[in-house]
């Protein structure tokens, strides 16, 4: 049986040429390659939906940043997913303005409709539900973000309606 020496394994082939180009562009702007780490994680996530161990090793290789440091960065942030997520990731604001204006009923309605709790993905892989710190829509609370779109003035009904629309069409009209 052959053995593989992990230490000398080259992970870079896990990244596509497009990904490498995007990461190199970020690295060229910053003073150090290390500083492009967070952008690199975002690039990979944009292409693959989440950051797998292989992707993490590959970025670590490419930027010459220790894996442990990169993992420390990756797990630090709310918007980097280190586990597979659904097609649509719901970031529901659970901070104070939303709490004061009816978050509870929006949350229960979403949980009931999707039949999942925070941190879970629906069986059909369509939705993941996460909480998010204040989304800066406090004057239009309650609020949530899905992808790059922000939704405000939510009610139990409007939130579920939005999700129904998403589930059927796969995308939302803004």
């Amino acid at each position: 049986m052959e053995t593989i020496d992990i230490l000398t394994m080259d992970y870079q082939h896990y990244l596509t040429a497009t990904e490498i180009a995007a990461i190199e562009h970020e690295a060229s702007i910053m003073e150090t390659r290390e500083a492009a780490g967070i952008e690199a994680l975002k690039v990979v996530q944009e292409h693959r939906g989440w950051v797998s161990d292989e992707s993490l090793f590959a970025i670590s290789d490419l930027l010459a940043v220790p894996v442990a440091q990169l993992e420390g960065v990756a797990t630090f942030y709310n918007l980097i997913y280190r586990q597979p997520v659904g097609q649509h990731v719901i970031h529901l604001c659970d901070s104070i303005a939303c709490h004061l204006t009816g978050l509870d009923s929006v949350l229960s309605a979403i949980k009931e409709y999707l039949n999942i709790d925070y941190g879970q993905t629906t069986g059909d892989g369509k939705f993941t539900l996460l909480s998010n710190a204040c989304l800066g829509s406090c004057d239009k609370a309650p609020a949530m973000m899905i992808g790059t779109a922000h939704y405000q003035h939510l009610t139990a009904e409007s939130a579920v309606e939005l999700l129904q629309q998403l589930a059927s069409k796969g995308e939302l009209d803004d």
């Binding site: 702007i29 910053m30 003073e31 150090t32 290390e34 500083a35 492009a36 780490g37 967070i38 994680l41 975002k42 940043v65 440091q69 420390g72 960065v73 630090f76 942030y77 709310n78 918007l79 980097i80 970031h91 659970d94 901070s95 104070i96 303005a97 709490h99 004061l100 204006t101 509870d104 998010n132 710190a133 204040c134 989304l135 800066g136 829509s137 406090c138 004057d139 239009k140 609370a141 973000m145 790059t148 922000h150």
Partner: protein
């Protein structure tokens, strides 16, 4: 539109804001944009601009209210031929805005991106920085797009890049989108984040002004702070000080959220009273609700109550009544929302966003959450109030590595003071009197949580919480 701009001289920061479609480069110039930067670059030496900013009385709008000119003056300056000169200095606009209840910078970023760019040119010129970053929270996608577009236009029109407007001054400006973590707003954590490290705050000294980003002199300023600069340069110190009737110069973007009639943002002369903002601008409480209290400047400020409503919202006056101006965004509590639940929500935020670097905060914030949850769910005891008071002490200024934990203490300790009766009622009646029906349900949700704390607490043993 144009007329409005001319008449709007007391609203310098928001006069050019257009959320639908921010002013493109030509329109921004026509409205009077880039004139402040022209005054700075073409008529003044950097040290002269520094004097102007110092004498204007501009204070930081990022929360702490530190005088901007003084902060800049700590940046070492060098002659062209000085061998000790660092190869660069940096300017960073702090656009991380994640403080719950704060949404003012978003207005400036999405509504008037050129204003921030012009401001950063002035600031970078003054401190001698040739590279600048806008550290933007990851959720503000629209702002990222609009800023990048404005930056591209500024490059095309020689307001960024090499030899700006035929001067010796060069500046490159980049947008860095973060990925969602409140602590990145703390300026030394922000610097670590920009360097690609885990965003724990750094020890001070050295202060960033001397050794910051990549070990070089660095200034981090809030977006709103910076956006004042074009107007100060263009209109002068006397004009800036004339806007406000008191010792704090200029205008301030105040906000209000919670169950008020018309939540929103308003640019007013610095020193409008809490009452004015709450009743004249936010329209007072919604139908059927009474005012209970408010946080005057975001989640990490102390509660104020009815007796404080005539306090002007400037740094000193708000400090005198025991709170902080913070970000100037009111979070308003009504009489049908539970104060204990409100504080629980706030502390949950701080516990979740604690970076975990120092023990008082890493352990103290979740502990406070646990105790507050127990009280809110009707399982608190009188001794819990002492525990909370003690935690406030453990996490106070000087005992933690950064200001996040003391910020978490502020709403907690003031709630213990102003809403003492509410805490007592929860404990005495074993339920939340604002929401008695929800207790059973909530208890269920936090079952594992409470069981743990109950088991660890012999005095509570034997009681049933099923």
């Amino acid at each position: 539109m144009t007329e409005q701009i001319v008449n709007n001289s007391v609203k310098p920061l928001t006069q050019w804001v257009n959320l639908q479609q921010p002013l493109a480069f030509d329109d921004y110039c026509q409205a009077g944009g880039y004139q402040g930067a022209k005054v700075a670059l073409l008529q003044h030496q950097p040290n002269e601009v520094l004097e102007i900013v110092k004498n204007s009385g501009l204070k930081g709008r990022g929360g702490a209210g530190f005088p901007t000119g003084m902060k800049w003056s700590f940046v070492p300056m060098f002659d062209d031929d000085d061998e000790d000169a660092p190869d660069n200095k940096y300017l960073v606009a702090n656009a991380d805005e994640m403080e719950p209840g704060t949404f003012k910078d978003r207005l400036l970023l999405e509504g008037a991106p050129h204003q921030l760019i012009e401001a950063m040119i002035i600031a970078a010129y003054t401190i001698g920085a040739n590279k600048a970053y806008i550290f933007l929270r990851g959720e503000y996608h629209l702002a990222a797009q609009r800023l990048q577009q404005a930056i591209d236009e500024a490059y095309e029109n020689n307001w960024l890049g090499k030899n700006i407007q035929a001067t010796q001054f060069c500046l490159d400006l980049y947008v860095h989108s973060s990925a969602g973590r409140y602590i990145c707003g703390e300026e030394t954590a922000l610097i670590n984040a920009l360097e690609g490290k885990r965003a724990n705050p750094r020890a001070k000294p050295p202060f960033p002004q001397v050794s910051g980003l990549f070990g070089k002199p660095t200034i981090v300023n809030n977006v709103e702070t910076l956006c004042n600069l074009p107007h100060i340069l263009k209109n002068g110190i006397a004009w800036f000080q004339g806007i406000a009737p008191n010792s704090d110069a200029g205008s301030k973007i105040y906000g209000a959220c919670g169950r008020v009639k018309t939540p929103g943002l308003w640019e007013l002369p610095m020193g409008a009273t809490l009452r004015e903002v709450l009743y004249q601008h936010a329209g007072g409480m919604q139908e059927g609700l009474q005012f209970r209290g408010l946080l005057p400047g975001g989640a990490s400020t102390d509660f104020l109550v009815a007796e404080h409503l005539d306090t002007p919202m400037d740094y000193d006056s708000i400090a005198k009544v025991g709170s902080r101006l913070g970000t100037g965004g009111l979070i308003v509590l009504d009489d049908k929302n539970c104060p204990v639940a409100m504080v629980l929500n706030l502390l949950r935020f701080f516990a979740q966003e604690s970076c975990g670097w120092c023990t008082p905060c890493r352990d103290g914030t979740p502990w406070a959450v646990e105790v507050l949850a127990r009280i809110e769910h009707g399982q608190g005891k009188i001794a819990d109030l002492d525990t909370l008071a003690k935690l406030c002490d453990f996490m106070w200024i000087g005992k933690t590595h950064c200001a996040l934990a003391p910020g978490a203490v502020e709403p907690l300790r003031s709630a213990l003071k102003y809403f003492h009766d509410d805490f007592l009622q929860h404990i005495e009646h074993g339920c939340c009197h604002y929401n008695p029906a929800s207790v059973a349900k909530r208890t269920q949700v936090s079952q594992s949580h409470t069981n743990q704390s109950v088991a660890a607490n012999p005095t509570m043993a034997g009681q049933s919480y099923e």
